[in-house]
């Protein structure tokens, strides 16, 4: 049952194509988790997050300057190589510059029938951002209605909100099982579950998550008790080879703060009469991406809370090479975690990970954590 997530992770394109054949619906590729999927689900569109394939490629050089991150390069490569040729639409919610570059280049050279740039506000700590985002959601909803040729009613929005909320709750519950001394699932399995949730039909994915929690995990013993408990945090990270290596060194990853992980599903839409306002509030108050975490650093408290509740011994901070927003947070993030006795290891991700080189550092880090235990 739990293997379903890995299967979905590996067959994302086949899944979306079959979904289209089966439902006759439209598929929307999206670039950032600030995209309000509630509105897409309300229009019966399947949102699929665009991610890279972790292979070397030579097609993006004419389009993206060398100092932009490997993730945006890898995403754009997928477009230029035609791997997402089934997309009917493609959109981004405003976050970092690098992923925006992937979006605009893709739009320019391989445009699907519908593209949209949602100016998601950056100043999420100002109350002014809520009415502004609400108005942008209204404009966006109208654009989607015109695209799919159908009005989006309040009932539709309610359905979108319920699907997203149910999925978020299920994922929270799944992550909660990892708080136990003997986690019933590995970090790799959790990554497959969290990442595949970003392109699988929400009802279908939630049903499997619920089944796994109720039927598979109780009593499941992977012998993870006593392994060093780690969290991972930082930029986009769907690098399963990396996670597999880290866990292979005698650790277990029990939680994360990534947009490909817990940041995506952390908080719910609190229903209210004005549905778009309710949706706007959810995205404004969600755990922030570093691009939007100012003037206060709310991420520090959020990450400390995760570290405490999931009882981690150490944290691996991984960022995409050249990711400026994360680079601007990392020195403070390290101090903050050090302050609660959680040592950190900092690593930079590229399109492919030099597993051997990283393994040496991870092993040394785990040794250091083991020595800490002695005193």
């Amino acid at each position: 049952m739990i293997e379903m997530f890995e299967e979905w992770y590996k067959s994302r394109h086949e899944y979306a194509k079959e979904w289209k054949d089966k439902t006759g619906g439209k598929v929307m590729g999206f670039f950032c988790t600030y995209v309000p999927e509630e509105i897409l689900l309300a229009a019966n569109v399947l949102p699929v997050r665009i991610l890279g394939s972790h292979e070397p490629q030579n097609v993006t050089e004419p389009h993206i300057f060398g100092m932009y991150c490997p993730f945006c390069r890898d995403c754009l490569a997928q477009g230029l190589l035609g791997r997402y040729d089934y997309l009917d639409g493609m959109m981004i919610a405003q976050s970092c510059l690098h992923i925006r570059q992937a979006f605009t280049s893709w739009k320019k050279h391989m445009p699907p029938e519908f593209t949209y740039y949602l100016p998601m506000p950056h100043q999420v700590q100002s109350p002014r951002s809520i009415p502004f985002l609400r108005s942008e959601l209204e404009t966006f909803k109208t654009a989607v209605e015109q695209w799919v040729g159908k009005e989006i009613t309040d009932a539709d929005l309610d359905r979108g909100i319920e699907l997203m909320n149910a999925s978020r709750q299920a994922m929270r519950d799944l992550y909660d099982t990892r708080k136990t001394a003997n986690p019933p699932m590995t970090g790799l399995e959790a990554m497959y579950a969290a990442v595949s949730n970003q392109w699988i039909d929400k009802a279908e994915h939630t049903a499997v998550v619920r089944d796994v929690i109720q039927k598979e995990l109780p009593g499941r013993n992977l012998g993870l008790e006593g392994k060093t408990r780690l969290m991972i945090l930082g930029s986009e990270d769907d690098d399963t080879a990396f996670v597999n290596m880290v866990e292979g060194c005698g650790s277990v990853i029990v939680t994360d703060d990534h947009c490909t992980g817990s940041r995506y599903f952390w908080n719910q839409v609190e229903p209210e009469e004005d549905r778009l306002l309710a949706i706007a509030k959810r995205y404004i108050t969600r755990p922030a991406c570093p691009t939007k975490d100012w003037p206060q650093r709310t991420r520090l408290d959020h990450v400390r809370m995760l570290a405490k509740q999931w009882d981690v011994a150490g944290a691996i901070i991984i960022q995409q090479k050249f990711c400026d927003p994360h680079e601007l947070d990392i020195p403070e993030q390290r101090k903050s975690l050090d302050g609660i006795g959680v040592p950190t290891l900092f690593l930079e991700l590229d399109v492919t990970v030099p597993v051997g080189q990283f393994k040496i550092r991870v092993e040394a880090f785990l040794e250091m954590l083991a020595e800490d235990d002695l005193f």
Binding site: F65, H122, S126, R128, P131, W294, P325
Partner: protein, 435 residues
Amino acid sequence: MAKYPTETLLSWSKAKEIRETYYKNYAAAHDKGGIRWVGGAWTFDAVPAGLGGDVYSLTSEPYGASCAFNKDFSTRAMEAAETAGYARDLCAYMRNYWGSILMNEYAFGGPFPKPDFIWQDHICCSHAKWYQVVSELEGGIPMFCVDVAVGPAEPFGTLTEAKIDYVAGQILDGIEWLEKTTGRTYDDELFIEACWNDFRSTSKWAQVCELNKAVPAPLDEKTMYSLYVLATLQKSWGVVADYYDELYDEVKDRVERGIAAVPNEQARVMSDTQPPWSALKLFRYLEQYGVVSVGSLYTFGLEGMWDFDPASGDLVPRPMPSKKPTTREEAARELVRWHLHKPEYQHFYDCDYKSQMMIAMCKNYGLSGVMLHYNRGCEGLSLGIAENRLAIQETGYPVMTFEGNMGDEREFDLGRTMQRVDAFMETLGVKKVAA
């Protein structure tokens, strides 16, 4: 015998004086009980002006560029920032600035003057985060930051009332915050006057740039760097607005009399993004080929205010608002509407907008080619630059690219770049002019 007559620019030394006064004013502000604040070159500097006539600012990008001129200082600043754990590929201005705080050295001499508050705006990922770190390094000084990233302005998008509300609303909140932070009463009259000066400076600078359509070009880009910088320091300062009026008259007179910036002008190019500041001799090298860089969307539109007219395919200096605002609210909205049209904001939403404006410049300024600086020191202005290159080439203009860094000279190789220029000149069919 040179092809055209040339003369030094008379108002050059005045620009230099204004710049020096600006940096001294900031350092000395506290001596007379005045206020010091810091923020970026794009911040709404007209807003703190309402706190009184003794309020002085230090803008960070021109400060970071000033550091870059001093290689030794800059290298030590960079190393200080790196030692503190900040990545080497971050904005080079930012690292020069943080390094100054960490070393407690002001690039113009003395210890680094600590600001009373931070007043910043945000469109690039680094803008607000830059000052978040400054606040921390300075021991927690208060910070306010206005998000301006609401999407493109006309003709590329539509500035809806909700967008204006969002940005202007933050400014109005900011004014209350300024009163609380400084304990001063806010003067709307001073604010309105400062807004008006801002419109004057940024509109007039665009008109100065437009004079470079003339052949021979009255200004070359290297000179323009020393002139546009005043608007990056304090566009809302009456002294700056007055200076641009004076400059406009002088440059217009040069055009009428056929005075050239490069006496042997035989081909015209433009650049893009901030240059490697420690190596401006690159532009002098172009002169050996009789090539003048007439500017860039960067020098024209970083502070200059323009409207892009797709029908005529030209950038037109944005006309001044028809009347002065009369209330705080009106002024805030007018200020926002004005600045959201900034050419250098538009490419943050789509590289295509910038390509359209750059191609317009190629056509209307009689260019033979374009030299793009792939600037490792600034991810914001490098956004979309590779697509700009493709779009400009597609229109038929040759493009040369060179990698470098505006503020970290360790990442720029002058010798190799000059070799590239040589090869590009062969492409343009331009040969060196006998001196």
